[in-house]
Symmetry: C5
Subunit: 353 residues, 5 copies
Amino acid sequence: MRRFSRRAHRAGLAPGTLKVTDTPPAHVPGIRIVDFDSAGLEERAGASLDDCLAGPREGTTRWIDVDGVHDAQLVTALGQHFGLHPLLLEDVVTVAQRSKVEAYGDATYLVVRMLQLDAAGAEVSSEQLSIVITGNTLISFQERPGDVFDGVRERLRAGRPRIRTGGPPYLAYALLDAVVDHYFVLLERIGDHIEVLEEALVSDPTPGTLSGIHALKRELIYLRKSVWPLREAISTMLREESLPFAGDLHVYLRDLYDHTVHVIETIESYRDLNAGMLDTYLSSASNRMNEIMKTLTIIATLFIPLTFLTSVYGMNFDHMPELHMQWGYPALWGVIVVASAWMLRLFRRRGWL
Amino acid sequence: MRRFSRRAHRAGLAPGTLKVTDTPPAHVPGIRIVDFDSAGLEERAGASLDDCLAGPREGTTRWIDVDGVHDAQLVTALGQHFGLHPLLLEDVVTVAQRSKVEAYGDATYLVVRMLQLDAAGAEVSSEQLSIVITGNTLISFQERPGDVFDGVRERLRAGRPRIRTGGPPYLAYALLDAVVDHYFVLLERIGDHIEVLEEALVSDPTPGTLSGIHALKRELIYLRKSVWPLREAISTMLREESLPFAGDLHVYLRDLYDHTVHVIETIESYRDLNAGMLDTYLSSASNRMNEIMKTLTIIATLFIPLTFLTSVYGMNFDHMPELHMQWGYPALWGVIVVASAWMLRLFRRRGWL
Amino acid sequence: MRRFSRRAHRAGLAPGTLKVTDTPPAHVPGIRIVDFDSAGLEERAGASLDDCLAGPREGTTRWIDVDGVHDAQLVTALGQHFGLHPLLLEDVVTVAQRSKVEAYGDATYLVVRMLQLDAAGAEVSSEQLSIVITGNTLISFQERPGDVFDGVRERLRAGRPRIRTGGPPYLAYALLDAVVDHYFVLLERIGDHIEVLEEALVSDPTPGTLSGIHALKRELIYLRKSVWPLREAISTMLREESLPFAGDLHVYLRDLYDHTVHVIETIESYRDLNAGMLDTYLSSASNRMNEIMKTLTIIATLFIPLTFLTSVYGMNFDHMPELHMQWGYPALWGVIVVASAWMLRLFRRRGWL
Amino acid sequence: MRRFSRRAHRAGLAPGTLKVTDTPPAHVPGIRIVDFDSAGLEERAGASLDDCLAGPREGTTRWIDVDGVHDAQLVTALGQHFGLHPLLLEDVVTVAQRSKVEAYGDATYLVVRMLQLDAAGAEVSSEQLSIVITGNTLISFQERPGDVFDGVRERLRAGRPRIRTGGPPYLAYALLDAVVDHYFVLLERIGDHIEVLEEALVSDPTPGTLSGIHALKRELIYLRKSVWPLREAISTMLREESLPFAGDLHVYLRDLYDHTVHVIETIESYRDLNAGMLDTYLSSASNRMNEIMKTLTIIATLFIPLTFLTSVYGMNFDHMPELHMQWGYPALWGVIVVASAWMLRLFRRRGWL
Amino acid sequence: MRRFSRRAHRAGLAPGTLKVTDTPPAHVPGIRIVDFDSAGLEERAGASLDDCLAGPREGTTRWIDVDGVHDAQLVTALGQHFGLHPLLLEDVVTVAQRSKVEAYGDATYLVVRMLQLDAAGAEVSSEQLSIVITGNTLISFQERPGDVFDGVRERLRAGRPRIRTGGPPYLAYALLDAVVDHYFVLLERIGDHIEVLEEALVSDPTPGTLSGIHALKRELIYLRKSVWPLREAISTMLREESLPFAGDLHVYLRDLYDHTVHVIETIESYRDLNAGMLDTYLSSASNRMNEIMKTLTIIATLFIPLTFLTSVYGMNFDHMPELHMQWGYPALWGVIVVASAWMLRLFRRRGWL
């Protein structure tokens, strides 16, 4: 997961200049157009720019789904056709925005971070999703193909009444809802990961466990930074009367708001748990160190004095009367045994054994 | 205590689709209907869906108590009969909501986390309680049988005037009050647990004490996450005039609000105490380590130089005049005794003995 | 100091049921009635319930001071006579409330935690003080005899004009002021304690110092929990126009508010200092450990190689030419001295000596 | 620097009673009167109480500067003459208030903590400054002689128009400005101190460095507690229309407000830096410990096995064939050299050398 | 990077006195005047004070760019010509302000911290930028030559319509936008630095890594202190109607506001990452210590008892029957081998090998 954004080389340009960050254009932009009303739906994958500009029938809602914001020419053409503000277009192509909702004249601009797990559930890809609502058209921009909107398309095709007749604002809500629902998928995976780490902490903590904890921490910092501004944005959608999210959409947006707050609170709880795991690791490392030092101290305290004693009788003085006594050697063994027993008792009393 | 929710596999469905999380349906849903007014009370345990749909007499309050939200068919049928919003029903069956209160048209929806200790006081079970107020009916939903409302039922049967005549809003208050009162039961148990841990920390801290501290920490993180949003919800009940909690109910709700704040502040204090216990454990572990190292250092510092001395006179050089002196051996003992005494005095001065 | 409250066994009862927590009723409740106006004052210690019910003369302010809220009958009788709300009475007898002010119909209810040092200044007793203002009567409830109001009684008897003519609201202020002033007494004691601990930390830190720091931490957590809500309560008294604290009483209440904030800020500063003391302890423990390990390392590094050397010449090989040299033994001593000197220089360079 | 206040023995007195804290009255109170208008200025040091009571000419602003609030009689006399509220006078003589501004009837009361470095720049003295504005008179109270107002007096004498014609409110602003400017002097000294400590941390950390860090921490806690409430007070001066700081004074007060916020933010940054220094100290202590233990382990791991080897051949068994071999002794030396070399290589690989 | 400001020696002066902080005036102040309207642009580098005072043609916007605020005479002359408030001028020359926007009569004053990387990208220079808008003139003040405005000048010269016709308010926005864009350049460099440090932490942590972490921490504290107030300032520009930033400029300022919040949130994330890196370092240091101690303990526990055994048979008692046994020596070797094997197994079981 690439963590922090590159916005740098833009510095020095006029606000509103389209300058795409320098990732190589790995693919041709793909456009998918969906026109629908309560009666029917027409879907064109691989549409061209001209398709976009040829407006839909009166009373029809159009969803233009663009993959590949590195194509400045395409974005500019769309912007000119729909009369979008230069700052809006700049935000679309600068793929490191914080989530926000903003009215630029008649157009409403939403930007949000879309996080998705790959099929194997191991890798997270993070991408900026821009949604522009203008008239009866909704344009969604992202860089790479692949999104979390299959369910939304399913419902559109199935002809569910609410989504077919709700116009661009409801569609925008449906897209946001899909994005937030995928946050929960991610949180679930992280929850599983936390349980695995806690298991490992209790049974057999290794340096690998430690790197796992630190990696989790970085992941949570990134997630928090991605999700936190979304709450503010949805709150703006609910509060700002100039935005096109009025009437019965409010019930849906409040629901979405609650889910977002739920995501944030879960992230905060995970951060607390994460901090707790680090404490657990460090304190159990400290316990192990105590264990190791105790072993060393017991052995050294037991044998160093005894070795001193034996080394005394290994000296070669001419006059050492003990050496010549009949019972000297067994007596020394007696001393050794008694001293060892006494020390072991001492260790036991101190709780070292 | 299962800690974090599974909401994941819902992602991709339309908002408002009923999809129950995949715990196996361990039991048939149970329904209990209580109809009451100031004059009398009728109670039917084991009621059927049809009983629910056959409305009560005019002027009567009905409480429908449903255990088993995994039965999507049942919930949908109730929802259609009472004209409930799809999003409301979705929240009922998705058993990992944060506490909130929300108006969906004429219906008022309350969701809260119900925590109860089992009979032995050892296990906590956590469950989502949904309360729907619509007309003169209150429906409470939960997944598993067993709740904290025996006291409320007792008072209903005993014919206490306030609860008999207060209608669904007062009944909802009474249920919430019972839920919050059980938080205090839980807090008391935790308070006892904290005292046991502090006792253990002072008298005989073991690695078990440490795991106890960490387990407590996780428990408090979970509790906090459960209770915190409730405060906001009750505050909304007091503030929002469109909700049916007006008039003299405000006195009761303010009282409930104060209790909730009290629970939250107690949890925060417990978290502080918990953090303090970890500090205590670590600093006493550090003290013990100091103690161990001091012992090792004293022994090693005392005997290693002496052993060097004796090993000198264990050498086999042909010309070692000391070895042949009459008083060599006793003189060496003298040196040993004097050196030991001097070192012991040094240790005592440094405060190591 | 008993730290956290027992509210548990109330769960399951109706809100507003009087159920006293189960401390044994160690004493008969005591009632003291003071009737006063600008002209005179009448005081009856050991009054009976009937004395309370026989109202004072018109234009007179009455202060009923009840010790012993475990007597539910007495509290209920007073409640009925003065028409107090059941929730109010429940709060009076449940002696673990957070501080608050609340209007229940005509009556105003204040609850606050009263902390007092015993005569020796060693023990803190903590008690719930409930104040009810209704008409021209103020009732103060607490569990144990003994309070911090001797100064207030003195001023009443001395006939100070402000307190004699201010009615129940001014009297309530005077009682709160006395309570808050005793917080300062407590803070001063804690301030002294902190200085003693800091002295000990600098001069001679022992494990006892450490327990002192941890005990202080727990005390501050408790204090904070007790005082924090009071600020909110006084702020409500100033803001809420339905409460009887209008007009020139505001000057006094603002002063009280400032004192409460001062108490809170001092507690926060103490908490910071306390955290700093723990850091100091741990870092000086780490310093001592470094000192100990340095000693061990110096001794071991000096003598272990030398002992190896001597043990070489203690071997019994038949062919060891050094042993038979004339100057072997003195030469070895030379090597020992030179090596020791070299190592000592090395230690000095590393700053270990 | 005496850190925390003594307010204790006041408890039990009526609010508004003048009881001075029990520092011995080390000096006679000094009074300095300055009368000025746009035309001229008259200054009397060592004035008497009677001088204060004999009012200035119409249209003249009077500044009464009192050193020595322990003289309750003097303060009471001034209070009676100017009709000041008893609570105001109580705050003047209780020299441990938090900074605030308060209107008591016609009089405005300001209290703030004045911090000054002594001439040598080593000691900080902390004192309570009370400012009372009533009519065309400003009275400033403090306990000890010596203040930070020489610059203000200079500008008064020099006849600067703004200060001569601004009346008591501008004078109060000028005094506060002088106080806040001296906070910057103090912050600069602390900034220098931080740089010295950081230098020491990098080059040669000693236990003295550690005490320096902890002392700095305590100083910052005290500073923070002193300055924080001032921001609130100045904000009140700007907001509260009943206070006499209207019109073009707002520009000056906003400037003062910004400076105060700047002081607070600098203190917070210093606290962060201070916490970082403690971390640095502890981690470099841990590094040194690692260094020490590495040395010990290398020596012990190298020589303990070798000593074992030599001690084997120091045994006196009758039948030890190795002892009688021609090349036994040189062969052993070979083993020793090879084993040492192998171990040194091992240490080098682990990065211990 | 010089971290904290010197404002000290100003104390004692009248508010509004121009006293420049005592850095030596290293250069003559440079003035650059740009006059422009939609039709054309005239640029004069190295202009004199008189050029500034000779006003531009009606309908033309003038940008006076002054490098060198140490020249109090120049600043005063400009101030008098444009009728600027003394406090404004004081803030211009006191180069350690927190960012703010303030209306002084007709003039609007903006102050912000300009951070730029040098060409090599290694050194950050930090400078105070003051912007004064008065009539159709914008004056920008800074101390040293060199700024981040080359892009703005480019666009002015290129005749971009928005900037040519937007007047001083749009120009001020463009300057602020350039400043904030350079924060991103700085953040990018810090992000790279964080990745290098994390790499080093994983592969080969050295004491140098640790100093890098601490240096980063100090840098982030400084950055935070610089940027945080800017958010407040821009929010004031949006909110305060008396300021000249009305109409369609709001869209631009909201965009700028979002960027500033983005900068702040990124700094906070970096701080979290930084704290995590310190934890990682310390826990891996603790791991290494464990490793070292384990080695020592294994060696000592293995060889110290064996050495004791051999030293027993190195004693010179007359009567030691074992010494004379035929198989004594090989038997002892057997004991040694068996004991070693047993201990190694023990170590392996404990996970030490």
